[in-house]
């Protein structure tokens, strides 16, 4: 299977990976520490690829390094807070773990806050027609709604406390699902095309600078070791690289099936199969277990082929996170954080 998949890899992908690889070895290349030195991390990927858990794990890892972290839940479903052991999120940042706060983004509220901060517009009844027009524009043109997400993140990045230190050392954004990732990341730019004047323009330009500055902002792409998720991640990577919206620093390949059994374990399986009756009575299910684990190894083989394909297709480090059985919430997040700490720390 692996050799066949490799053989069918379109040559154009390898070509595309070449210049990217050069960028990957530039001073901004990703080790975990370097990654967490950034101010803003966007965690993006298709639905179900482990975005939220990865974002939550990055929050924990940064907090462990003594940073004050803000997690931003773009879908506002509260999943990020749950992955960090809390019940749900509100629009205001709430502390969910030592050093980690989470807030959920809501377009309408972001908009009101935006007007309040920048234009001193009070939250009055008069807001209603204005926010309805906003709704219309947000619906009709790509940009504004996503712009609020990015704008809010940029605003939080700029916040300072009384002693003029940043309120947040790191902001980790759990991006929205499917297809909207690019829109969110390039929102500032598409808004620049739309808004030719007005007060907003200067702010948008500033936001665009923050997002596209590889020293301050980076993206982490999540994927699964299956054919379509890998192909789509390579495509997403290519799109981001083409538009130069944000610097992609790392890809996290979630749910890798376990590595092949150690030789000693294989030998036990083989020996028990040919052993006498007393052995087979003591461990009656061993043949069965062997067959199931063989199935798991076939999963591993095709996952490895997909991992290779991903590595060939994108020019940034790929960190593999093993399939973690049924734990949920904070337990899973902690396990993923431990894996990232070990493997991403080691690729440095």
């Amino acid at each position: 299977v692996p050799s066949r998949l490799r053989a069918t890899l379109p040559p154009c992908w390898r070509q595309r990976a070449l210049p990217a690889r050069k960028r990957g070895s530039a001073p901004t290349a990703a080790s975990l520490n370097e990654l967490l030195e950034r101010r803003i991390l966007f965690v993006a990927g298709k639905g179900g690829t482990g975005k939220t858990t990865t974002a939550a794990a990055l929050c924990l890892l940064a907090a462990q390094r003594g940073k004050e972290v803000l997690g931003v839940d773009v879908d506002a479903k509260g999943d990020l807070a749950v992955a960090l052991g809390s019940k749900g999120t509100s629009f205001k940042a709430e502390v969910v773990q030592p050093g980690v706060s989470v807030l959920a983004l809501h377009a309408e509220q972001s908009f009101q806050e935006y007007l309040n901060i920048y234009f001193k517009v009070p939250r009055l009844a008069r807001m209603t027609p204005l926010s309805k027009v906003f709704d219309f524009i947000a619906t009709a043109v790509p940009g504004p709604r996503d712009m609020l997400v990015v704008g809010k993140v940029a605003f939080e990045e700029r916040r300072r406390d009384d002693s003029r230190r940043p309120v947040w050392d790191l902001i980790v954004v759990d991006c929205g699902a499917t297809g909207h990732i690019l829109a969110q990341l390039s929102a500032a730019r598409s808004m620049l095309e739309l808004v030719r004047g007005g007060l907003i323009r200067g702010q948008i330009e500033w936001i665009d600078r923050v997002i596209s500055d590889g020293r301050r902002t980076a993206a982490v792409l999540t994927a699964l070791p299956e054919e379509m998720p890998v192909v789509e991640t390579i495509e997403l990577y290519g799109e981001i690289a083409k538009r130069r919206t944000v610097h992609v620093a790392m890809s996290v390949l979630n749910r890798m099936p376990p590595e092949p059994l150690p030789t000693a374990a294989r030998r036990v399986l083989a020996d028990v199969a040919t052993a006498d009756e007393s052995v087979r009575q003591r461990v009656p299910g061993v043949a069965h277990i062997g067959a199931d684990l063989e199935f798991a190894e076939r999963l591993r083989t095709s996952a490895e082929a997909q991992a290779r394909r991903l590595r060939a297709g994108i020019g940034v480090p790929v960190v593999e996170v093993p399939l973690i059985s049924v734990r949920t919430g904070l337990a899973t997040t902690r396990a993923v954080a431990a894996v990232l700490h070990e493997s991403a720390g080691a690729t440095a």
Binding site: G47, G48, A140, R196, V272, S325
Partner: protein
């Protein structure tokens, strides 16, 4: 393939069998659960059953469908999946199978052209720079266009079975609400209010709107708002048509001509969406005809004897030395532990799958079709046939 076929169920039991009296099959579920593959396989199963013309529709990007069917590319015109190619993969079909990609943009354009009072009005809408945004990124516009295109195809009646896999929405329900949303959008009172006074300097006269428009101008720059206003005025001309069509689409979706199939994996997130989806379909009185649980783990992972043995391998301190003695060489405790522990991990996942499956079946009101996790991605025709046999 033949091994599976031998175990195939009788006609009325299979999902394809249950869907034979339906003209339109809508496959829904959250992104990444294998919706496209399942709808292609379902199409294949329908074409295998009887002499019918089946069209499988997918939304952009169509590559997933093309890959599943072993084709290089699928365009917006239906292409027939060649019998020869199917035969090569060991598949015999009674009917014909076609595949096509939904062309959202031209569907939207057609709708505007049909509903605008004059050709000039239509052209003005199509040329507006906001129109591009609307037809492209209006929340639910892909979903709405999928439904619109489905409606058109159903009316044309060229195919016996239409299978559509719904767009990967942020919210799997977007397409159910899309017709209403578009109607609201085109018809909102605010828009007529906005469209009215902004023309020809009239807005200063509108007392209520004055400060608001002033604010909006400061924010966005003056030209944006008046452009929006003009566009809205044009859009309202197609309101009546859009409203009527939305009613027709809802009527079709609630009729017995349509069957919904919910596809999900048993992972927590997509599973949660699927549950929600089933309950909402019921609320909307739209006919749920089947539930497909994709990529389930094999039942052998729930075997009781294997479970007891795995526990002993993982935890029984006496086992390594006992086995060493019996086998005549040293058996490392680590090796035994890793054997047992690994199986137990998969066992835990299989148990969770089984629990989820039970809940799903209660929700769907019918036995869920289980598509086992294959160790290779079912991306080509043979893989597809393997799934089709289970449907």
């Amino acid at each position: 393939v033949s091994a599976v076929r031998a175990g195939a169920r009788t006609a009325t039991e299979t999902l394809a069998g249950r869907l034979e009296d339906v003209d339109v099959i809508v496959c829904c579920g959250s992104g990444g659960v294998g919706k496209t593959t399942i709808s292609a396989a379902l199409g294949l199963a329908m074409a295998q059953r009887s002499d019918r013309r089946v069209l499988v529709l997918t939304v952009d990007p169509a590559r997933r469908l093309a890959t599943a069917l072993g084709m290089r590319e699928i365009g917006t015109d239906p292409v027939r999946v060649s019998r020869a190619r199917l035969r090569q993969a060991g598949i015999k079909v009674e009917g014909e199978m076609f595949a096509a990609m939904l062309d959202m943009k031209s569907t939207f354009d057609r709708m505007v052209t049909r509903m605008a009072p004059s050709r000039r009005d239509a052209q003005r809408i199509l040329n507006n720079r906001f129109y591009q945004g609307i037809s492209d990124s209006f929340i639910g516009s892909h979903e709405y266009m999928a439904m619109e295109a489905l409606y058109e195809l159903h009316q044309a009646g060229e195919y016996d079975t239409l299978i559509i896999d719904t767009p990967p929405s942020r919210n799997a329900l977007d397409f159910l609400e899309a017709p209403d949303r578009l109607t609201d959008f085109v018809g909102t009172k605010l828009l007529s209010w906005l469209a009215g006074p902004t023309r020809f300097g009239m807005r200063a006269a509108n007392f209520a709107a004055g400060p608001f428009l002033h604010m909006a101008d400061r924010l966005l720059g003056a030209d944006v708002l008046s452009e929006v206003a003009e566009f809205v005025a044009d859009l309202q001309k197609i309101y009546g048509g859009v409203q009527q069509r939305a009613r027709d689409v809802y009527k079709l979706l609630r009729s017995s001509d349509v069957g919904f199939v919910v596809v999900t994996t048993l992972e927590p997130a997509p599973f949660g969406e699927a549950e929600y989806f089933c309950s909402r379909l019921r609320e909307y009185r739209m006919p749920l005809r089947g539930v497909v649980a994709n990529r389930t783990l094999p039942d052998s992972l729930r075997d009781r004897t294997a479970l007891a043995t795995a526990r002993a391998l993982a935890d029984d301190d006496k086992l390594p030395s006992w086995l060493s003695q019996k086998l005549g060489h040293r058996v490392s405790p680590g090796a035994l532990h890793s054997l047992g522990d690994r199986w137990l991990q998969f066992h835990a996942m299989a148990e969770r799958d089984a629990r989820q499956l039970g809940r799903l079946e209660r929700l769907g009101g019918a036995e869920a079709v289980r598509i086992p996790l294959f160790s290779e991605d079912a991306s080509e025709l043979e893989g597809l046939a393997r799934i089709a046999a289970l449907l």
